[in-house]
């Protein structure tokens, strides 16, 4: 039976068919839907771990216990989990263990575009790189077999286009019925990586790579499609699609396994075509390995004699996502395709207002950024919706690096002697993910960092996943919600205050008070994300009283998409009055609190206006 599945759904389906017992990980675009789609299958255990490292340790633990398992995360999540990855690469496991990394070329929703195929080579584990949903399904099944055959974790590396593209998948018949595993292993030389044991394992994992490379020669995921002998393209991952679309006549070596490479197969392919090129997204990962084999790749004549070190990619760009236009243009420049124009007209975007991401109307993070902007302090930010506090006009966030970095980066500035008082902002899920050790550091090593934990009761940016603060598991079981205040107090903070996130005055007063002393402190701003179903039920659009508004523009400074400039001008100042879009406004009242002229009605005022009308 064929079903339309996204790449992420295809992983989940195949993992279920493969008899996987445990899936863990942490939400991150574009990987999030893998665990969400896996969780409802019967007979599986799925969870959100507090961070990717814990998630991978959990998968490793399940595989040590003889059950097939996977951990899923976005590319930068694997940085967090890399300690666990390298440990598991040394030990192997008792059952199939697959690590799924979803890379984000072009950084649609990420801070970098690292190419995680490099992790496979670094850790000496095989890497599978699918092209579409069917391929993802098939390679996921293969990954678990491969893992068991060679006693190795397997990296299934996906990219945004594969994760978030839906295409038809021929579903496998049903779930594999795996035998009940034996007793938990007591195999110290394999599972206790103390130096004496680890020294023996290192040569073993180098031998393992060589054995997998030999297997790769006949692996079904690596295949040659013979067409014209004029041009041969070696490709993997999503780039296979662009090879077929842009070079329909070319022969193609499609590598489902991009590490280790099938060297005989590559030599055979390269030897039977006139010109051979490598088409891959991001790093010259396949290309560099092939160059090391001494195979000469086609070089356009118009190039410099030596490529500028260290960029060995000569035909296709190293940065950014590929697409048919990029590939076609590159192919033309390299003389691989006849000259010509791309279809259609390239129109300039000049004169069109941009539409960058913004904090949603009713976002409970908005008030804190409004106050921080007003205070003018340096703010060290973190990864989540609240990163958007950097956007104009809020303009109240000055660094964003990686998950959990805000607190440590603020502490670094403080201990370095920066004259300004630093504020770190972090969300509830990111707090649980990696801020706790950083907060311990602030208290223990005595800096004056003020941390705002913006607790919107959900993991927001990735699309509303549960986290340890919500009291619900990925498989929708009620559980004990971890309370942030007592946890922070237990870390050693004396100043811990919780305020309603929409309360502008309370946030301002608390921060101003704390600025007067030199103690570290934690402010928790709490209000559920305005897009949660329970919050939506309370949406109530506010209204501007045009008689009172004089176009002072103060409400525009809260940066809410629901507040518009009306066409009506104030007769004295000639400035446009404020107007609230009733389809967007949720009634959070931040703008109403900020308005100095009471020109924006609060919820109770709007309601008392409505009731008599409805009664009449």
């Amino acid at each position: 039976m064929k079903r339309l599945l996204s790449g992420n759904e295809a992983v989940a389906r195949a993992a279920w068919e493969a008899g996987v017992k445990v899936g863990s990980g942490y939400p991150g675009t574009p990987s999030t839907e893998i665990l969400e789609a896996f969780a409802p299958y019967p007979g599986v255990y799925a969870e959100w771990a507090p961070n990717e490292k814990v998630g991978l340790d959990v998968a490793v633990g399940a595989a040590y216990a003889g059950r097939r398992a996977f951990a899923a995360m976005k590319h930068v999540g694997l940085n967090v989990a890399s300690d666990a990855l390298f440990a598991a690469a040394m030990t192997g496991a008792e059952a199939g263990l697959v690590i799924i990394s979803a890379d984000d070329p072009s950084m649609h929703s990420s801070q970098n575009e690292q190419d995680n195929r490099q992790f496979a080579k670094f850790a000496r584990i095989p890497c599978l790189d699918p092209a579409d949903s069917q391929d993802t399904h098939d390679l996921t099944l293969a990954a678990f077999d491969l893992s068991e055959q060679f006693d190795t974790p397997v990296l299934l590396r996906m990219t945004t286009r594969v994760c978030h593209t839906s295409s038809p998948v021929e579903l496998g018949p049903q779930r594999e019925n795996l035998p009940e595993p034996g007793k938990y292993p007591r195999n110290l030389t394999k599972y206790c990586m103390v130096p004496a044991n680890a020294k023996k394992r290192h040569p073993a994992i180098e031998t393992r790579v060589a054995e997998i490379a030999a297997f790769a020669e006949t692996f079904a995921g690596n295949r040659i499609e013979w067409r014209s002998s004029d041009l041969g393209i070696i490709t993997g991952g999503v780039a296979y699609n662009y090879a077929r679309e842009v070079f329909p006549e070319a022969s193609v070596l499609k590598l489902g396994m991009v590490y280790p490479l099938p060297r005989k197969l590559i030599r055979e392919f390269a030897g039977r075509v006139q010109k051979v090129i490598v088409l891959e997204e991001l790093d010259p990962f396949i290309e560099d390995q092939i160059r090391l084999m001494g195979i000469s790749l086609y070089r356009p004549e118009n190039l410099l004699p030596e490529p500028p070190y260290p960029v060995t990619k000569e035909i296709f760009p190293i940065a950014g996502e590929l697409d048919p236009v990029v590939v076609r243009d590159s192919g033309r420049q390299a003389g691989l395709l006849p000259g010509g124009e791309n279809g259609g007209l390239a129109l300039s975007m000049a004169g069109l207002p941009i539409r960058p991401p913004v904090l949603c109307p009713g976002c409970p993070h908005r008030s804190s950024f409004y106050v921080l902007h007003k205070l003018g302090v340096p703010v060290n930010g973190d990864i989540g919706c609240y990163t958007l506090g950097m956007v104009q006009p809020l303009d109240a966030l000055h660094t964003v690096g990686c998950m959990g970095a805000s607190v440590g980066v603020a502490h670094g500035a403080a201990v370095a002697g920066d004259k300004e008082r630093h504020v770190a902002v972090i969300g509830d899920s990111t707090f649980f993910h990696s801020a706790i050790p950083a907060l311990i550091n602030v208290v223990y090593n005595r800096s004056n960092v003020i941390t705002i934990i913006m607790d919107n009761r959900v993991t927001g940016m990735t699309g509303h996943q549960d986290n340890p603060g919500t009291g619900r598991t990925l498989q929708q079981k009620a559980t004990r919600a971890i309370e942030i205040e007592p946890l922070v107090r237990a870390l050693g903070f004396d100043k811990v205050v919780t305020v309603p996130a929409y309360d502008v005055a309370a946030i301002e007063k608390t921060l101003k008070d704390w600025m007067k002393s030199d103690e570290p402190a934690v402010l928790i701003t709490r209000e559920e994300c305005a897009l949660l179903p329970s919050a939506r039920n309370r949406w109530l659009p506010l209204e501007v009283v045009s008689d009172k508004c004089n176009g002072c523009t103060l409400c525009f400074r809260v940066g809410c998409p629901a507040i518009l400039k009306s066409e009506q001008l104030d007769p004295k100042t000639n400035r446009p009055l404020a107007l609230i879009d009733p389809l967007l406004c949720t009634g959070c009242e931040i703008c109403a609190q900020v308005c100095p002229r009471d020109a924006i009605l609060f919820r109770n005022q709007v309601q008392s206006k409505q009731i008599p009308q409805e009664a009449a």
């Binding site: 339309l4 649609h108 295409s167 697409d323 207002p353 400039k565």
Partner: protein, 199 residues
């Protein structure tokens, strides 16, 4: 309809139902016997950012991304987004535009005004004369829920593409939650009629 396939680009603003509409088109393509790829980019914004979805029907579809100038149909749920992405459309292709503005915050922060209708029409006209403007929000509001505007546009599309209405209905039934199905059916029909009268 062309047997070699159709490329659809769908654009809108986060929260407008762009993704649901492309899901419906993807299922429809499968029912009609095509290979299908549907690629979405929903960036950092839940609500308020640009959302695009590329949907391709064909005998065998490789690239998930539609190259510039190769979309047969552009469906825009917001008119500024129609103007922004019009160059994905093949010259002379079909543009179906929800006659509705969602002003981006940048209008206030950068001072670049929201373009007037004349400028939007001119920009579209650089690529195609086949632009249909549908008052999706007004029609959906009249039916009781502005959120059904995306399905109004699909109804309009069904009339313009001349595809069998019963196939569409089967997909709507499959994709839309039962409690919203009647509303969406009415929205679909209203969209069909809106185009019929415009044409």
């Amino acid at each position: 309809m062309k047997s070699e396939g159709i490329n659809f680009a769908l654009v809108g603003v986060g929260g407008q139902g762009t993704i649901l509409a492309s899901d419906v088109l993807a299922e429809l393509g499968l029912r009609l016997g095509y290979d299908v790829k549907k690629a979405e980019v929903h960036g950092m914004s839940q609500r308020g950012g640009s959302v695009t979805s590329h949907l391709r029907w064909g005998p065998r579809v490789f690239s998930p991304i539609i190259p510039r100038g190769e979309a047969d149909v552009l469906i825009a749920f917001e008119k500024l987004e129609a103007a922004r992405f019009i160059d994905i459309l093949k010259p002379g292709g079909l543009a179906l535009v929800n006659d509705y503005a969602i002003e981006p915050l940048s209008v206030q922060t950068t001072g670049v005004p929201y373009p007037g209708d004349e400028m939007l029409h001119e920009r579209l006209a650089q690529v195609t004369q086949h632009a249909y403007w549908v008052k999706g929000i007004e029609i959906a509001e009249a039916l009781g829920n502005s959120r059904a505007a995306n399905v109004v546009l699909l109804g309009a599309l069904s009339a313009l593409l001349d595809l069998d209405e019963s196939q569409w209905d089967a997909v709507l039934e499959q994709r839309v939650p039962a409690k919203h199905l009647e509303l969406n059916r009415r929205a679909f029909r209203a969209g069909r009629e809106a185009v019929a009268t415009a044409v």
